[in-house]
């Protein structure tokens, strides 16, 4: 009964950043609920391995596609490849976000942040959302249906409390949330609402999913400091995003559009 309410059987779902920490959970979750998943990632090896893993576990073929989403031509090729193979795209989960090639520049203090680094991150965190929505939308509009989900962030809604970064590390390196990320994710929310109203006459729903901080190997200090900011007192498990995602992707949310669904343990409630 439960699975029929959030059923994605027969739906073609494209997930960008599909092989990342959250992306691979999203792909598995969508596949488990019946979707034909297309894993779009810049890392070919990770995408291919995930596809094999999904096929082994769910018995469902998943299509890996390598794509640099910063390049409009590559985005078009990716979308054309999906449509050529499956004939349509029912669900777009635009989830890719940028990792910098230069961590020192990425985590630099705001006063010293370079425009080059700002643009490098914007190119993937916001510009690519535009490019992918445009390329996929061209196929969804004539079909008069589709569900688009953008991964946003709590830092597109509220500012980070800088105190949580004191002594915090990820993979042995001090971390913070740079302003470009917050600005890009706030932009994602604007794009989400714009497209929700713009494509509503064509039966396409557009919503955002905002995960709170997810356990993914941060050091103990960060986990503690972050958790103290959260009413539920802990970081999220990646699996806790799946319920909201599958609901948004499925017909169970048929009257929901232009919304930002925040899964943050209450962080933005106080």
């Amino acid at each position: 009964m439960a699975s029929t309410r959030f059923d994605l059987t027969g739906k073609v779902a494209v997930v960008t950043g599909g092989a990342g920490i959250l992306g691979r959970r999203f792909c598995r979750g969508l596949a488990e609920h019946g979707a034909q998943v297309v894993i779009v990632d810049i890392n070919e090896e990770h995408a291919t391995r995930l596809a094999a893993d999904i096929a082994r576990r769910s018995g469902r073929h998943a299509l890996p596609i390598t794509c640099d989403l910063r390049d409009p031509a590559e985005v078009r090729r990716m979308v054309d490849a999906v449509v050529a193979k499956y004939g349509r795209i029912d669900v777009l989960h635009s989830n890719a976000a940028g990792k910098s090639s230069d961590p020192a520049a990425f985590f630099a203090p705001f006063e010293e942040y370079s425009l080059a680094q700002w643009r490098e991150i914007m190119a993937i965190d916001l510009d690519a959302m535009f490019l992918v929505a445009q390329a996929v939308g061209r196929h969804m509009v004539p079909r008069k249906s589709g569900s688009v989900i953008h991964t946003a962030s709590i830092y597109g809604v509220v500012a980070p409390d800088q105190r949580i970064y004191e002594g915090s590390e990820y993979e042995g390196r001090p971390i913070n949330t740079p302003a470009v990320y917050a600005a890009a994710k706030a932009g994602v929310l604007g794009l989400t609402r714009y497209l929700a109203a713009y494509w509503a006459p064509h039966g396409i729903r557009v919503n955002a999913l905002t995960p709170g901080g997810v356990e993914s190997g941060q050091n103990e200090t960060f986990q503690q400091r972050y958790s103290q900011r959260v009413p539920l007192g802990r970081m999220a498990r990646p699996s806790e995003m799946i319920g909201a995602l599958v609901w948004l992707a499925s017909d169970a949310s048929s009257y929901v559009t232009g919304q930002n669904i925040v899964v943050d343990g209450g962080l933005t409630a106080w």
Binding site: M1, A2, S3, R5, F6, I21, R24, R25, R28, G29, E32, H33, R57, R193, A196, A197, A200, P201, R205, G212, V214, E215, S216, G217, P231, L232, G233, A236, R237, P238, S239, E240, M241, I242, G243, A244, V246, W247, S250, A252, S253, S254, Y255, V256, T257, G258, Q259, I261, V262, V263, D264, G265, G266, T268, A269, W270
Partner: protein, 273 residues
């Protein structure tokens, strides 16, 4: 750690299951409350449908048992404007269902009014039912919910988020009163308060803001109004009552275990522009 092996994460079907749980649904026989009662029962919860009209709740509970295989449904008369009725009702619901894990606040009654037509009495009645009733019910039910790390789902409204456009309403007899939005905005904020205050007890509290879901009688009496509502909305139509079921399933189950203090709009995009 859990994050490295998603293969061992619980499946969504398990997370959505409400087997072994019980729910008290205030307003459980109403337009949207009925859909929520059905949704929770379909997922395996024993449901207690409560409202001022106990007979209406009994009829709806009987329909539910007839329609949903293996459903367990009870009916209960509760008047949320009377503290003693709430206390007795909460105790009775706990007895009927063997305690409960889910509280849904979906009670409503009130008159149509504009700012000019509304009397002190009507204003007070709306705040009494739509805001004070939620406060009292949560206060009475919180100890029961705390025993089970339960969940609270409040039903607010798009008019707790944005104001009605007076041009939609061609007469006082269809107008949305100012007291309604004020009470519903209060419910949204109370949701956030309760989310942070009850988090240490493991109780999650969320809110749904439905968009235009007019009663069937309104649809028959005033088709022009329905057309104006549809035209105002990005999706170009009013909501179908069953479209509330998905979000109720999400918010009342473990599928939303990291969600608290949120207001989820099911409004066809009404508040997005």
């Amino acid at each position: 750690m859990s994050y490295v092996d998603p293969a061992r994460s619980p499946r969504l079907a398990e997370l959505l299951s409400l087997e072994g749980r019980a729910a008290l649904i205030i307003g459980g026989a109403g337009l949207l409350g009925s859909e929520i009662s059905f949704a929770l029962a379909e997922l395996g919860a024993a449901v207690v449908l409560a409202g001022r009209d106990g007979e209406k709740c009994r009829r709806r509970a009987a329909e539910l048992v007839a329609a949903v295989p293996a459903a367990r449904a009870h009916a209960l008369a509760i008047d949320i404007t009377r503290p003693e009725s709430i206390r007795a009702g909460v105790a009775e619901a706990a007895r009927l269902a063997g305690g409960f894990h889910i509280l849904v606040n979906c009670g409503w009654s009130g008159r149509k009014n504009t700012f000019e037509s509304i009397s002190d009495e009507d204003w007070n009645n709306d705040i009494e039912v739509s805001l004070n009733g939620v406060f009292r019910t949560v206060k009475a039910a919180a100890p029961v919910l705390a025993e089970r790390r339960g969940v609270i789902l409040n039903i607010a409204s798009m008019y707790g988020v944005v104001a009605p456009d007076p041009a939609l309403y061609d007469s006082t007899s269809f107008a949305n009163p100012p007291s309604y939005g004020a009470a519903k905005a209060g419910v949204i904020q109370l949701t956030r308060y309760l989310a942070t205050f009850l988090a240490p007890q493991g109780i999650r509290v969320n809110c749904i803001s439905p968009g235009p879901f007019p009663f069937e009688t309104t649809q028959k009496e005033n088709p022009g109004f329905i057309q104006r509502l549809a035209a105002k909305n990005p999706l170009g139509r009013i909501g179908r009552p069953h479209e509330i079921k998905g979000v109720a399933a999400l918010l009342c189950s473990d599928a939303s275990s990291y969600m608290t203090g949120q207001n989820i709009s099911v409004d066809g995009g009404w508040t997005a522009w």
